[in-house]
Symmetry: C2
Subunit: 413 residues, 2 copies
C-alpha cells in the first residue's frame, strides 16, 4: 500500500447502502501487511445466484481454479478474500491451502465447500498459509453485518492507494434494487481480465445463467477495456452475486435474458463495472494522468479495440503522457505496430478537441502551444480515426511514470 | 544523445578495416542536433548487390517506402542517412523530401535515383527539410573515404549513448572477405524489426537474391530476437550490401544459396548481426541490465519465441530486474499471459544457474539470498522450461528504469 493517494482518485466516495442478504466482515490476519485488514468475508444468508469472469492466464492461481469449479454449481454462500499473497504458482500446497480455506468457511456458514468462492491477491509464488486466517472465519460469520462495504474495499487492497466502490439503485419492474461493487487493482492490469479482483452484489432476483450473460457482456466495455501495464494477472476474478432478496419486496424473478424489466438493471450494471474499472486505472501504479483512447473508422470493432490497446499499452505513448509531451508521432507508431488494417495517409489524430494530424500528416492548423497546454490536464483524450470503416472502440489507461518503476522495482521487499 | 554512456556498452570498439568498393562521408547539417554529425553518405563505386529487411509497421516512413521500391532493382550506388528527423507520417511533403534527397545523391554519384537507398531516424511527424543537407551530397561523394566506419556509426545516432560497430573477416573459397556493420537504436525497439537502422557491407561477390535469403534468415536470431520497449518503429531498416570487390582477389561469385563456400560467410554474418543487435539492447534507453531470456520445452519454436517475448516485454519483469528483485512470480505471470500452450504445473524457471521453481512451485532448495545476489549482475540469464515439447528460443532485452521514463518523457523538447 502506497503512502500517498493517487492524484486521480475520485473526490468523493459514494455512500454504500446495504444489500439485503449480504453481510460483510473483515479481519487483520497479518498475512503480509501489518496494522491493516487483509481478510474479507462476504456471507450470503441464503443460496445466492452467482456469475464470474476470470483471468485468461494459462497459469491461474489456486483460488481461480477453485472458483471455476464452484461456479459450476451456480450458487454461493460465502466469499473469502485475502490480500498480501496471491496463492499463485504454489502447486499442491496452494490447492491444499484453498481447500482448507473453503472448508473452514463452509463449516462456518453451514454449506458445502463448493458454495464458497475464493480470491487471493499479492505476491506470486510464495506458499499461502491458510492457517493464518481460516480459524478467524467462524467468528467473522457471526460478526458480519450489511453496511461494511467500504471496509470490504479496504481489506482487499495491495498496492492500491484508495478503496474502490460503486453503487447504483434502479427499478426492476417497479421495485427498487441495488447493485454494490468493490474492486482492487493497481498493477498487473490488462485485458483480459483487467480487474485483478472485483466483487459485485445485488438484491435483484436474477437467475444464474442470465446473470452470467449480463456479466460477460458488460465486462467487454469495462474491465476488458482498461489496461495499466499490459501484464495480465494470474488472479483476475470478477464475481457477481444476486441474492434475490428484492423478491420479498415484490420483484418478480428474472429467468430470461430477454425480460424487458432487465434493461435498466443491465445499464446500471454497466455503469457500476465501468466506474470500478476506471477507478482501477485512476489508481494505476504511479499514475498521474488518465488516458481515454478512442479509435473510430477501423475495419471492425475488434480491429478498433486492438489498435486502441496497442496505443494504450505503448511505453512510448505512456511516457510521453507522463512528460506532458503531445508526441502524436508515437500514436502513429502504435497504430502502425498493431498489425491491423490501417492506411497511413488516411489517419487523423486528435488530442482533446485539437486535431493534430489528418490525411497522413500534421494538421496545417497544428499549434504546439495549444496541444502542449492540453497535455497538462489530468485526463487526456486521444482520438484516432483510421478512415477505413465503421469499427470503433474506447479503452482507458494511465501514464507510465518513474513512480511505476519505483513501485515495481521493490514491491516484494 | 544522452550525456552518459550506457554502463552496458562494450569495453572495446573493434578496429574496422575498409571494405573495397565502399566509401563513407559524414556531415553536420544541423537538422536537429547541433555540434555533431547528422548526415551519413555511403558510396559504392560500382553497382552493388543489395538486400533489405524493413519494419512491419503499417505506417512506414517515406524512406522505408523509397527503399522498398529501390530494392526491386537489386543494385545500389549510395545510401543517405539522416538523424534527428524520421520523415515518417509527413505525407506528400515526406515523399517529396525523400525524392529530392535521392535525386541529389543520384546526380552526385552519376546513377539513377532508384539505385539510392535512404534512411531517416528521429522525431516522427515533423516535416523533413531535405534542403538542409541535399546540397552537401556532391561534396560528400568527392570526400568519401573507405576507413570511416566509426564516423558512420556516430552520424546515425539519436538517443544512442555509443556508436555500434561490428566486423568479421572470413574465407570465401580461400579468399579473405570482410563484413562490416553499423547500427543505431535505443528505444522504439521491438520485433519485427528490432533495429531501427543498420547498414552492413561486404566485399564478397554474392548475388542479390542469395544475399536477401541470407539476410532474411539471419535476422530471425538477431534483430528480430531483441526488444527494448515492445514499440515497433516506423523506420526500421536493415540493408546488406555486397560490392563483390573480392572477385578481383580471386573470389568466385556466389550465385546459389547452396554454394558450400557460403557457410563460413553465413556464420560470420550471423555473428555480425547478433553482435549489433545485442549492442542495441545494451544501449536500450535507460538500460542498466541486459536480460537473456531462453525458453525451452515449448510446443514449437514459434511458441517458444512468443513466450520469450511475452517475458521480455513485460513491464513488471523489466522493473523487477531494474530493482534487482528475483521476482520469478512475474515470469510465471508473463508465461501465463502469452496465450501459448503452457502447463502451470510443469513450469521450471532458473535465474542463471539457480533453479527457483520447478513443477509449478518454488524449488525446495530456493535461496532468496543467492538469487538476490545473482540479480546484482549486469547480465541476467532467465531460463524457462515449459515442459511440453521441444520448441526453444532465446531473446534479449534490457531492464525498465526510471531513466527510460525520463528519456522518453521529454525526448522532443
Amino acid at each position: 500500500m502506497s503512502a500517498s493517494v493517487s492524484p486521480l482518485a475520485p473526490k468523493h466516495y459514494p455512500s454504500m447502502p446495504g444489500i439485503q442478504g449480504v453481510r460483510i466482515a473483515t479481519a487483520e490476519a497479518g498475512i503480509k501487511y501489518k496494522g491493516r485488514t487483509d481478510v474479507l468475508l462476504i456471507v450470503f444468508d441464503r443460496p445466492t445466484a452467482v456469475a464470474g469472469v476470470f483471468t485468461r492466464s494459462k497459469c491461474p492461481s489456486a483460488a481461480v481454479d477453485f472458483c471455476r469449479a464452484s461456479l459450476e454449481g451456480g450458487t454461493a454462500r460465502a466469499v473469502v478474500v485475502n490480500s498480501g499473497n496471491a496463492n499463485a504458482f504454489t502447486g499442491k500446497k496452494g490447492r491444499e491451502s484453498a481447500k482448507m480455506t473453503a472448508a473452514a468457511a463452509a463449516k462456518a456458514v453451514g454449506a458445502k465447500p463448493h458454495s464458497i468462492f475464493l480470491a487471493s491477491t499479492g505476491v506470486i509464488g510464495e506458499p499461502l498459509d491458510a492457517g493464518k486466517f481460516s480459524h478467524l472465519l467462524a467468528d467473522m460469520v457471526n460478526n458480519a453485518v450489511a453496511d461494511r462495504w467500504p471496509d470490504a474495499a479496504s481489506a482487499i487492497m495491495t498496492t492500491d492507494t484508495f478503496p474502490k466502490l460503486s453503487t447504483e439503485t434502479v427499478l426492476l419492474g417497479g421495485v427498487p434494487v441495488t447493485i454494490n461493487g468493490i474492486a482492487k487493482g493497481a498493477g498487473m492490469i490488462a485485458p483480459d481480465m483487467a480487474t485483478m479482483l472485483s466483487f459485485v452484489a445485488t438484491d435483484a432476483p436474477i437467475a444464474a445463467d442470465v446473470l452470467q450473460r449480463l456479466l460477460s457482456k458488460s465486462v467487454g466495455k469495462s474491465f476488458n477495456s482498461v489496461t495499466v501495464d499490459s501484464d495480465t494477472s494470474t488472479s483476475d476474478t470478477l464475481l457477481l452475486f444476486a441474492t434475490g432478496s428484492a423478491a420479498e419486496r415484490g420483484a418478480e424473478p428474472v429467468t430470461k435474458l430477454k425480460d424487458k424489466r432487465l434493461k435498466p438493471f443491465a445499464k446500471a450494471l454497466d455503469r457500476v463495472l465501468k466506474d470500478l474499472a476506471l477507478q482501477v486505472v485512476r489508481d494505476g501504479e504511479g499514475a498521474r494522468k488518465m488516458l481515454e483512447i478512442s479509435v473510430t473508422g477501423a475495419t471492425s470493432s475488434r480491429s478498433a479495440k486492438r489498435i486502441a490497446l496497442s496505443i494504450a499499452n505503448s511505453p512510448l505513448v505512456k511516457t510521453a503522457a507522463a512528460g506532458e509531451d503531445a508526441n502524436w508521432g508515437r500514436i502513429v507508431m502504435a497504430v502502425g505496430k498493431a498489425g491491423e488494417p490501417a492506411d497511413r495517409d488516411r489517419l487523423a489524430i486528435s488530442f482533446g478537441e485539437i486535431r493534430v494530424a489528418r490525411e497522413g500528416e500534421r494538421d496545417p492548423d497544428y499549434s504546439e502551444a495549444a496541444t502542449s497546454a492540453y497535455m497538462k490536464n489530468d485526463e487526456i483524450k486521444i482520438s484516432v480515426d483510421i478512415g477505413l470503416g465503421k469499427g470503433k472502440a474506447t479503452v482507458w489507461t494511465c501514464d507510465l511514470t518513474k513512480e511505476y518503476v519505483a513501485i515495481n522495482g521493490d514491491y516484494r521487499s
